[in-house]
Symmetry: C2
Subunit: 335 residues, 2 copies
């Protein structure tokens, strides 16, 4: 600041007024221009630590996640949250806790000591969880999870709507016997599994079709289980003409079962997945029609709700859009 | 601080000495304990902005990446870099530039104004690039890219070694006619493509095998191209008994071609990939043997080199380890 003032031939307080954007008659346009030229010449850089102390806020958003690096979801949710923050001039401080509670507590403490203006608390798979009490000290939004604390806004995928849309898409093509291979046993109460299944059941019943509970099976989300359950469903005397798979890996297993049984997708069997894991869905032959998990949209909305300071609805269920490829057609019809 | 001092019945300077961990005879253990109890009671939190101003460094690491959210690599490299920083008490400020130069310049400016102690500049695919000049103001390490600036340490995958190891693994199993479907044309000079191919050629020649250049083909890294090139290679009169694929998606295409031609993997055709994209490699049947890209290790080493302040070697080529599954065996042998 001292050097800028000397080069521009003005006082330090004039430099300060110009840099802080104070508009007033006391500084001529010519002086302002001279100060800015000197700043550019000297490469003067605002010290954000000093600015943050003076202004009492940091323009930092904290991001606490229990990431699993090998899923593409981590990158998607971080990137979209960061992009949204950056659009308003905020930077994002990121901490991965790996789900470790003690580490999480220290991480949140560290974020709070840096005067973050808000915290995004993100779960890498949709579940119900307790948030650490320290989060109550600062505006917080929870991504991809529901919490016991109703005062905290949460942004989650609309699993129910996704399940219902997937089933409806098959029904619209004329399928009446539809199998469902869910991603886990109902016992574990994973919201993704429970709500997608509710959506499936409601769509079938709303269409006036007979709900055959023996067509609903529970895998573990892996291709292997998808393969095994699909083999069983497809070996029945009256086999389903379509299968809704609780995720794309399960759908991959269903493709393998169909191939082994000499059934062609979609002519002999329509398959619809969930997650839209592009690496799988776009590369299966034929391409897998599936429901997308709205990670990017959740990241954006979460940060937007922090920045706006308003949260009209405590829980924001984001639409899971249908991504059409070539694995669904009317029974007996090629794509 | 004032409140802590009052509650503990000591002076503010005593509180400051205790909190800054100054060891000395002047403060009794009893006083120290009383101060810490008062701190806990009041929920006093260090103001990092003030601390950073006082100490002249921020314990922040900046991370600038041109992420592509849909690849799992983004998550892996961010998570490992952040974990390594956090192990030394550093937090990571992250900015995604999407490859936009103007945005990148503003982002780096913003990181510098926050007095980051160093910057990790990460490319999402291995390439040669120019780094923005502002990075010279602070210790910087480049991940997954080579730069024109030899003063900057860079951490890259050892593509040459990976290509050589992959070919050697096939040779060790007794293969003599080995096809190679690379991920792009040589014209584009992608280091991954050029160096993997050099490694392949050197391994074949070092083993005293005849190098048949017509067995080397150039796809575009997609399953579709892998399928097409594998069909050509496998329709030759003297077909190769093994194919090295420049990435796992290409290998997936080779599986599809083998299935269509009635060839069994690995008995009739061994296939080895590159990248170890778990979502593909672990779920193909049989599981794909492939070379892993060391993203996690690169993230760790990059941050470690920033924190240590030393960079013995300007370019650190990290080993790409062989990940064995079930797609490679001796010619004519089941896995």
């Amino acid at each position: 600041m001292h050097d800028v003032a000397r080069l521009a031939g003005v006082s330090q307080s004039t430099v300060s007024l110009v840099l802080n954007g104070v508009q007033g008659k006391r500084i001529s346009e010519e002086t302002r221009a001279r100060v800015l030229r000197s700043v550019a010449e000297l490469g003067y850089r605002v010290n954000s630590a000093a600015k943050s102390l003076r202004e009492g806020h940091s323009r930092l958003i904290g991001f606490v996640g229990d990431m699993v690096a090998s899923t593409p979801f981590a990158g998607e949710i971080i990137e979209s949250a960061q992009d949204r923050a950056w659009a308003d001039g905020y930077l994002m401080l990121i901490v991965n806790t790996g789900g470790d509670r003690a580490l999480e507590e220290r991480a949140i403490d560290s974020l709070l000591s840096r005067q973050v203006d808000g915290i995004v608390y993100a779960a890498m798979y949709h579940r119900r969880l307790k948030v650490p009490p320290a989060l109550r000290e600062v505006p917080t939004v929870v991504l991809n999870a529901e919490t016991d604390d109703e005062s905290l806004p949460a942004v989650i995928p609309d699993e129910y709507g996704g399940g219902r849309t997937a089933a409806q898409h098959l029904i619209d093509q004329g399928h009446e016997r539809i199998g469902f291979i869910n991603i886990n046993t109902l016992a574990s109460k994973l919201p993704a599994a429970v709500d997608r299944e509710r959506g499936f059941v409601d769509a079938v019943e709303a269409a006036g079709l007979r709900l055959d509970r023996t067509l609903i099976r529970h895998g573990d989300g892996d291709a292997e289980a998808g393969y095994r359950h699909a083999c069983r469903l497809l070996s029945r005397k009256r086999r389903p003409t379509a299968i809704f798979c609780g995720n794309d890996r399960t759908a991959w297993g269903a493709y393998q079962a169909a191939a082994e049984l000499g059934l062609r997708v979609p002519r002999d069997l329509s398959i619809i997945g969930f997650d839209n894991q592009t690496l799988i869905a776009a590369h299966l032959r034929p391409g897998l029609t599936t429901m997308a998990l709205p990670f990017a949209e959740m990241g954006r909305r979460g940060v937007a709700s922090l920045l706006s300071g308003s949260s009209a609805s405590p829980i924001d269920a984001v639409n899971c859009p249908l991504v059409e490829r070539s694995s669904v057609a009317a029974p007996g019809v090629d794509a």
